[in-house]
Every structure is written in C-alpha cells, then in structure tokens.
Amino acid sequence: MSGPGVRRTTWAALRARRRALGRLAAWSAVEALPALLGGVLVARAVDRGFLAGQFATGLAWLGGLALAVLVGAAATGQVYRSLGAVVEPFRDELATRVVHGALREATRAGGRADSAAVARLTHQVEVVRDTFGGLLLVVRGFLFAAGAALLGLLALAPLLAGAVAAPLAVGLAVFGASLPAMVTHQRAQVTAGERLGRSAASALAGHRDVVACGARERVVSAVDGRVAAQADAERTLARMAALRSLSIGVGSWLPVAVLLLAAPWLVRQGLSAGAVLGALVYVTTGLQPALHAVVQGVGGGGLRYAVTLGRILRTSPPDDPPPAAATAADPGGPPPAGTRAAPRTAAPAGGWAVELRGLTFRYGPQARPVLADLTLTVAAGEHLAVVGPSGAGKSTLAALVAGLVTPDSGSAHLAGVPVAGTPPDALARLRVLVPQEAYVRSGSLGDNLRYLRPDADDATVLAAVHALGAGALVNRLGGLDAALDPAALSAGERQLVAAARAYLAPASLVILDEATCHLDPTLEATVERAFARRGGTLVVIAHRISSATRARRVLVLDGDRPLAGTHDELLARSPTYRELVGYWEDAPPPARVPLSRA
C-alpha cells in the first residue's frame, strides 16, 4: 500500500528543508501572538477598564491586542513565504521524478509510452503541491494556535486549561483514529471516479459501434454498475464527513459546555468576570477555528494529498540502480545464456552486419510466439527488405535487431557484438533505427537533424538533405536555423526529417521500420535509394511491396515460416510473397510507380 511510501517521502521532503521549516516555525510562533494574548488582554480590558468604569484603560489594553494582531498579521505574510520555500522544491522533486519515470518506462525494453504521465505532471503533481502547502499550513497553524490558547488559559485559570484540553484531546483522538479509514475510502472514491470516467469514455467513444452491434443494454448496464459504485463511495465519504464533524463537535463544543457549567463555581472561587470572558475568547476564537481548520484541512486536502502522492509514487517509482552497472561487469565476458543454442557460422570477408540465431519472442508465457526460432544473417553492405502481412512480426524483428526488446531465447549480434548486454549508447553507435512514428521536437530544424551527430557542419547536413530529396522541405521551413513547430508538419514531412537525421548518424547499420509509409511512393523510392548508396548495411521493414523490389534480398514473414531470397526466388517459392506481389500487380492502373527492379 502507498501509505508508508507517502509517509517516508513526506518526512524526507520535510527533513531536507529543515532550515525553511525552522523559519516557518519561528514565524508561526510570532503569528500566534494574538491567539496567546487575546483572552488575557480582553480579560484585563474588561476587569480593569470597562467594568471599573475606566474606558480609556480598557481601550489601552485593547490597543495592545490590536498591536499583537498587526504583528501576527505581518508574521502571517512571512509564514506564506517560508511555506513557498518548502513547497516549491518539493514540487520540483516530484516533477523530476514523474519525468524520469515516464521516460524510463517509455524507453525500456518492452516498455510503453504512457501519455497519462503528462496528466500526472500537470494535474497530480499540482494537486500534491497545493495540498502539501495546505496541510503544512493547517497543521502548524493548529499546533501554534491551540498551544497559544491553552497557554493563555493556563495563565487565566489553570484549572480551566485542564478542563478544556481533555475534550480537545478526545476530539483529536477520534479524528486521528479514523484517519486511516478515511484515506482508504478517499482512495476508493477516486478509483471509483476514474473507473466511471474510463467506462463512460469507452462506451461513448464507441457509441456508433455499440448501436451498430445492438449492444446498448449491455453497455449501458456496465456503465450503470460504475455509477452505482461511485454513489456507494460517495455515501461512505458522507459518513466519514459526519465522523469528522463529530470529532470537531467533541473537541470544540464540549470545552464551551465545560466552561459554562464550571463558571458559577469558578466565580465563587474568585474568578473575575473578565477572566470568564477571556476564557471564552480563547475557546471560541482560538481553539474552535484552529480545530475546525485542521480537521477539515487534514480530512479534505490532507486525504487528497495522501491519495494523490501515493498514486504518483506508485506510477513513478524511484530510479532503479542504473542498468549500466550490470552490463559494465562483463564487457567481453561470456555471452548470455541462450546464445549457445545455435552455432555461429563463419562470416564473409566483410563480416556479418546482422547475425540472428534461433531468435524466439513472445508477449507472454501463454502467448503464441511472434517470431519462433528465426535464424538470419545479413552481410555488411547488404540491402534487405522485410515484407509480410500486417501482424506478422516485422516491427518486432526490427526491435529485436535494434536491441529494444529482449528475445525469450536465441541471440542477435551486430558486427560481431552481442546485442544482449551491450549498453544502449554502445548499441546506438552500431545501428540507427527509424521507427514509423517520426520524432521531431520543437527547436530548430538543424538541431533536429543533428540529433544523432551534433558535430555535423552545415554542408554535411545539407548534403544529406539533398540526397533524400528534402531540399524543398528545408527551404519551405526557412533553412536549418528556422524554428520548427512539430505539430505544423505533416506526417510525411516528419518522416523526411527523421530520415535525414538517420542518414547523418555515424552508425553503419540503418533499420527503416516502415519509416517512409507517409511519403508518396516516388519520394519513398528516393529515400530508400539514398540509404542504399550511403554505404553500410540497410534493413527496410517494408510498408509497400515496392520496397522489396529495390532490395537485393527479401525476407518474407508470415506466420511461423519465414523465408529469405531474391525477388525471383521468392516469387517461385513463397505463396505469401506471390499473394503480396500478385495482388499488387493485379491492381488496375493507375500504378504510378513502375515496379522495375532498382
């Protein structure tokens, strides 16, 4: 459960900011001055001034109180400043943690880019920031104000102080005891709300589909269930709110009752009228508002704080020990288990650029493998196209070769280096992967193009741009130094930028994973031919079958029987390939791109 994590994180955040907290406490003490002196000064003003017929004397005592109020108010300002010094660094810490966590999860092997992290950053972190500040404010406010009121009571009538403190303690105890349950219920309510939102979003996004399937009743009743669960959670929270009110009642109203019932007796013992009045001032203007604020503050914002922080901590765990530590231990050590399964064959003169041995990958232990026992070699300088129906595992193959996912068994080597166990930056020097979804970030066009090779001069960058037929795009955008708004580019333009970036990369192996699917066929051919001429090895995961006709060798993936060969060999041997090519060629004109072999 997130409870201990929340407590530990909160505690650490406070301890790290001890000095700011010290300032906060000092100013809080000053702020409590009117609460400390209020009752006593009112008592004196009444006893020695107003009741004694000396209005000026009474006014003087009240003037003292007004002064204390002004000093306290000035301190209140300082309290907020000190609070900012505690809260802002904590927000920085959490934001950093969310960003770290999201990027780590998005880029780890088999990880997922979860856009919910953006909501965590903009919404949840902000909720924690606000509620953390609020929580600190009410808790320390209560401690100082209640402490001051009790001290003041002690000075007025020591017996009364005890009689008032007892119900206050009971009220706080009732509240404290119910807090863990309140946190649980609050969390349940948040979860119920999210479930309702998700289920409603899914049902309404699919309104057309639901109507088309005649599944109205089923879907509506599924959402109904969430509505009922949410109402249940709300009712539970209402009961919790009642419990809170009860603890406020016990803690703040019982002292008044005690005071009233004891007053006649105390007056007979010699307590002055002013002192009775002062005691009432302490209870009703000191204790009551402070207790009210802390119970409502902790019960409202405090619960939201605990639940939201717990959620952030769960979704953005602290950094793991860097994986580099594990991999640095065996740079040239024995290859990891599984590589031994298939013997490695002798390499050609230039060496194997890619060497896959018995590669198997599946999404879960129960799942059928996406790739089973795949063995494939690509010689240095070769140009290979991978084709197959959608869902045949083409992109998985690209990810395995690039080392973005880990195979269940088998091995992959790039230029003789085992992919498993090689640190990511070393892999990045060996190969460059261009995925379908092109990454273009806001900044200058030049920065985007130099992403993988920061030291490239303008001439080199422009040469790459022209080789890929992106000159017109660069001109339109206003040159290399022009600022770029990624959202203003079309999907094809983004792919062109990503391709030029990869063209510049120092790595010799280039893997295009449907990286040109949004380009028109002519531009796609230009890009692929440029990469083929670039030198080094080229693997193209093909979106259109025309990519296969430009490659020296083709790998057909379909179900469990991968098959490699030249275009002609595959036409003869692979029914799937025939199907892919055949139906393409059967298509009536206009086929604007001639299917001639490159």
Partner: protein
C-alpha cells in the same frame, strides 16, 4: 427549446431526486441555524448568571442543550447532504446515459466524446449538488444575517462596526484576485511547456530508446523547472501579501467590536454577558463572506445542469417492433435523402437496390456521402426523407434485436468496446457467447469463428493472454483493430455494411478476408465502401456517388473507361 428553462426544470428535478434526504437536510440545517443564532444569547445569559452569583444552572444548561443540538445537526447535515447528492447524481447520470444510447448515431456524434464524459462524470456531480446547494445556500444566510440583526438590537453601534469591517474585507479580497492572475498564468504557461516537451519525448520514445538519449531528453524537459519555480515563488509572495492583510482585518474587526462593546459596558448599556454575546455574534457575522461560497456552488450547479439539459433535449429515436420476414437480405433504398445540420444535402434522391447475396461497392470522392449511405443502410440513423428496406420491411419498423441480428457494420476506425479482446469481438453476440468461457477454451465458438474469418485469430493468439487480454494492455495497430472490427460484424445473418473497413490492411490480408466473407455458407449481402480499385473490381456492382447523388450503378469494368471514374481512385483525389 431554450437552455435556461431546460436547465431550471432539470435543476428542480434534481432537487426532487434528492428525495427524503433533501427534506431531512432542510429540517436539520434550519434547526442548526436556529441553535447557532440562539447560542450567543444563551451564553451571555449564562455568563451574567455566573458573574452575578446566581447559582441556578438554568442558562448554562440551556446553552449546553443548544451545543448538543448543534453537534447533532452538524453530523446529520453531513450525512443528509452526502446521501442526497449521491442519489441525485446517480439518477442524473443514469438518465443522461440512457438518453444518449437511445439517441441515434448522428445526434451523439455532434458532441466530442471527452465533452460527453465531462458532462456525465464531472458536471453531473456538480448538478447533483443542487439540492444541497439550494438548502444550504438559503439556510447559511440565516446565522450571519441574524447576527447582524442581533448585534444591532444589542447595540446599534456594534452592527455598524461589523458591517463596515465586512465591506473592507470584501475590497481587500477583490484586489488579491486581480494581482495573482498574472503569476498563475505564467505558472500555467511554463507548466504547459514542460508538459508539451514531455509529450513530444513520449511520442518519440522509440527513437530516443534506440539513440540512447534518454538523459538528454530528460534534461531538456526539466530545463523549464527553474522558471516554473520562479513563478511559483512569485505566487507565494503575492499570497503572503494578501493573507497578511486579511489576517489583520478579521481579528481587528473583533477587537473593534469589543472596544465598542466595552464602551457600552462602561456606560452601563450592556452587561458583561451581553458583551460575550456581542463577541460571538461578531464572529458569526464575519462568516457572511463564506456564505458567498455556497451561493457560488448554486451558480455552478445551475451551469452544470444547463450542460446536462442540452443533450437531454434531443429527441430519442423510436424503436420498431416487427420481426424480420423470411428472406436472403435484399437491401433497397427508396428516395433516400439526408441533410447536414446546416441544411446542405449529403445524400439526395438515392434509389438503389442491392440484390440478395450480392456485393455492391460504394465509391466516390471524399465528401460524396459514402459513409452516410452506409450509416442509413444499417439504420445507424434514419434518412431525413425516403425509406430503407431489408427484405421488404422498412428498417425503422424492425425491432432492435431483429435489426442487429440481420445487419452487421464494420468501420474504417472501429472503436473496440469491452473489458477484454473477447468482449470486444463478442459485442454483438448474445449474452451466452459474448464473454470469455469459464473453462480452458481460448474463446467461445462464435467468437473464434468470427476471429478466424477476419484473419485476426493469429494476432490474438500472440497476445499475453490471448482472447482474455485486456484491451488496455493490447495496443492494436490500425489494421489489427480493423480486423477485430470485422470479426465483430461477422455474425450478422443477412447484410454486412463495410465502411472502408479494410483500408489499413495489406492487400494479401484484404484478399483473404474477402474470400472468407464471400465463402460464408449463408451468402450474405454486402455493401462495401472503398477507396481501392481492387475492391471495386471484385464487386458485382459499383454504386458511384458524386456530390450526394448516385452518378452510376454498373460493374467496375464498364465504368473504368470513364476518366472521371478513374480519378475517384487517384491518390488525394488529384486529377490529371
């Protein structure tokens, strides 16, 4: 129908929906307010009795009784307002949900999904508070207003002092609101920059992972953090200034009341007990500002009710009752016309017969009305004029179960609905075969057959838990989703309407699916919207739509001679 009247009527209904809880809340809140107003007076009398040496416990006991009443009413008010709001909110949500699903596709499509979810989840909760807000809004006025009156009755000067102080407080609060907005706006802007960069980096996760540039990206996102902190601290400074002012005004107000009361005490106009009462009334009266918050809640409830009343105002689509007569799925459109919201014709005078068991391709440029034709062919909505008949019966006279058993729809971008992949494929199936089976079987027979025909069974088998994989854990590509959408439509018995439903598939897969569809023993009628010439060529007839009218109905071979027809299939609609 005007929105304001609709929202007020809805608001009244919400208040009624709170039922007994709203009544209880009203009773409890009134009792509490009365006790709150009586308490200072009782306290004052009790103090006077004590100070005066009167040994009687009458007034102290009375004050204690009032305290007890206050404690009980506070607790009951919490329960009553929470339970009442929960009930009203749930009823409102159910009503909106049922209404939306009783409306046709065209009506609901006008609203973005996020907007509707916002209304259902967010604004329904706000509107559900209406009962509480009305009751508390009215009752919350009583103690502060009553206090000002009581104070003025005790001593007019005291009432004037309190009102003057409150006015000062209101002015100070207002200045703070204008001051802080600049800091808040700056903060939000920088936060937006941070979020934007994070979103960019998440979108490029694969590139970043491959390039091993995670740390560079992280630093880039977090580079805006110092600026964010700057704006944050500016906000705290502004808050500090404002709260210093308000922290002074409230207590000074009470000191002023004590001073004025003290003068009255010296002059003998007040007793010490009355001074106690005055201090208490002053504190209650200072709560007038908080009352504005409850009024605010009422305003919010009303605005939310307006947002909910809007979709509720659309008329629902009447369901038919007739069963389907025997037949093999002949589809006829007679004089079908559909208009857009702005009155522009989308379909105009369409007369088309799709013979039983035949495949008719619907082609045309973007905006020619193809999807609208597909939608009326399966009664996703009714045409504005004309009639659509399946085996001689108008679709609007068919009972919903009969209609859905007969007609299946598949879409360009299907939305998969349900918990698991199995649920998504089984959406249109009877309750017996829709959810995953209890035993070890991967799927029910109906779901498995449909998935195989749509060439998607292999894709599902590779998921971590096969058909039981949760949809949120299975990010499907466009082509995979299309195949699941096809599988979902497959069990339909007489007519399949495929609206560009294979556009993301490679040609090999598309052909395999077409074979499976055609080979069905039942020989269903097919209406296929397409952009591909290959698909049109495979159809028995092509219906060529142009600007909402039927330009020709003929085999593809015959139409192909016409350059205008060929231009329909050119990429991006380019003419040459």
């Amino acid at each position: 129908m005007g929105a304001p009247t609709g929202s007020d009527r809805l608001l009244r209904r919400v208040v009624r929906d709170g039922g007994g809880w709203t009544v209880l809340l009203g009773a409890v809140a009134l009792t509490g307010a009365a006790a709150e107003l009586a308490l200072p007076a009782a306290l004052g009398l009790a103090v006077d009795a004590a100070v005066g040496g009167d040994g009687s416990l009458r007034w102290p006991a009375a004050a204690c009784g009032l305290v007890a009443v206050l404690m009980v009413t506070d607790v009951l008010a919490d329960v009553a307002s929470g339970y009442g709001a929960a009930r009203a909110t749930a009823r409102l949500r159910r009503r909106l949900l049922r209404h939306l699903f009783a409306c046709d596709v065209r009506t609901v499509r006008r609203y973005p999904v996020g907007d509707l979810v916002g209304r259902l989840a967010g604004q329904a909760a706000d509107a559900g508070q209406a009962g509480t807000a009305v009751v508390l809004g009215v009752v919350a006025l009583l103690p502060p207003v009553g206090s000002v009156v009581a104070l003025t009755l005790l001593e007019p000067l005291l009432g004037v002092t309190l009102l003057g102080g409150l006015a000062l407080l209101a002015v100070l609060m207002r200045t703070f609101v204008t001051d802080a907005s600049a800091a808040v706006a700056g903060y939000q802007r920088v936060l937006g920059v941070l979020a934007g960069r994070l979103l960019e980096a998440l979108g490029g996760a694969r590139t970043i992972a491959a390039a091993a540039t995670v740390e560079r990206e992280r630093d880039r996102v977090l580079a805006a953090l110092p600026e964010l902190r700057g704006y944050g601290q500016l906000g705290w400074r502004l808050l500090a200034r404002a709260s210093a002012r308000t922290a002074a005004v409230g207590p000074l107000l009470q000191v002023a009341v004590v001073a004025v009361g003290g003068y009255a005490l010296t002059a003998g106009w007040l007793s010490p007990g009355q001074l106690v009462a005055a201090v208490q009334y002053a504190a209650l009266g200072a709560g007038l500002g908080a009352v504005l918050a409850t009024l605010n809640r009422l305003v919010r409830s009303r605005a939310a009710a307006g947002r909910i009343a809007e979709p509720l105002a659309h008329p629902v689509r009447p369901d038919g009752t007739e069963p389907l007569p025997p037949g093999r799925g002949e589809l006829r459109l007679r004089g079908v016309g559909v208009r857009a919201e702005d009155g522009r014709p989308v379909l105009d005078g369409i007369d088309l017969t799709v013979p039983a068991g035949a495949m008719v391709a619907v082609v045309g440029r973007s905006g020619a009305g193809k999807s609208t034709l597909a939608a009326v062919a399966g009664r996703l909505h009714d045409p504005d004029v004309g009639e659509v008949l399946l085996d001689g019966v108008p679709l609007r006279r068919l009972s919903p179960p009969a209609l859905r058993r007969a007609v299946g729809h598949a879409f360009d971008r299907p939305v998969l609905v349900g918990e698991t992949v199995h649920d998504a494929v089984g959406l249109g199936l009877p309750a017996g075969s829709a959810p995953p089976p209890d035993g070890a079987a991967p799927a029910t027979a109906a779901v498995l057959t449909a998935a195989r025909a749509a060439q998607v069974a292999d894709v599902v088998a590779r998921l971590p838990e096969g058909f039981r994989t949760r949809l949120v854990d299975a990010p499907f590509s466009g082509g995979e989703a299309q195949r699941l959408g096809l599988a979902r439509a497959f069990p339909a018995e007489r007519l399949l309407v495929l609206d560009d439903a294979t556009s993301s598939l490679d040609t090999a897969t598309e052909h395999r699916i077409a074979r499976a569809v055609a080979a069905g023993a039942r020989g269903r009628t097919r209406l296929v919207v397409t952009h591909r010439a290959t698909t049109a060529a495979a159809a028995d007839l092509v219906a060529w739509l142009d600007g909402g009218r039927l330009r020709a109905v003929a085999p593809h071979r015959r139409l192909w001679a016409d350059p205008a027809y060929r231009a329909v299939f050119a990429p991006d609609g380019a003419t040459r």
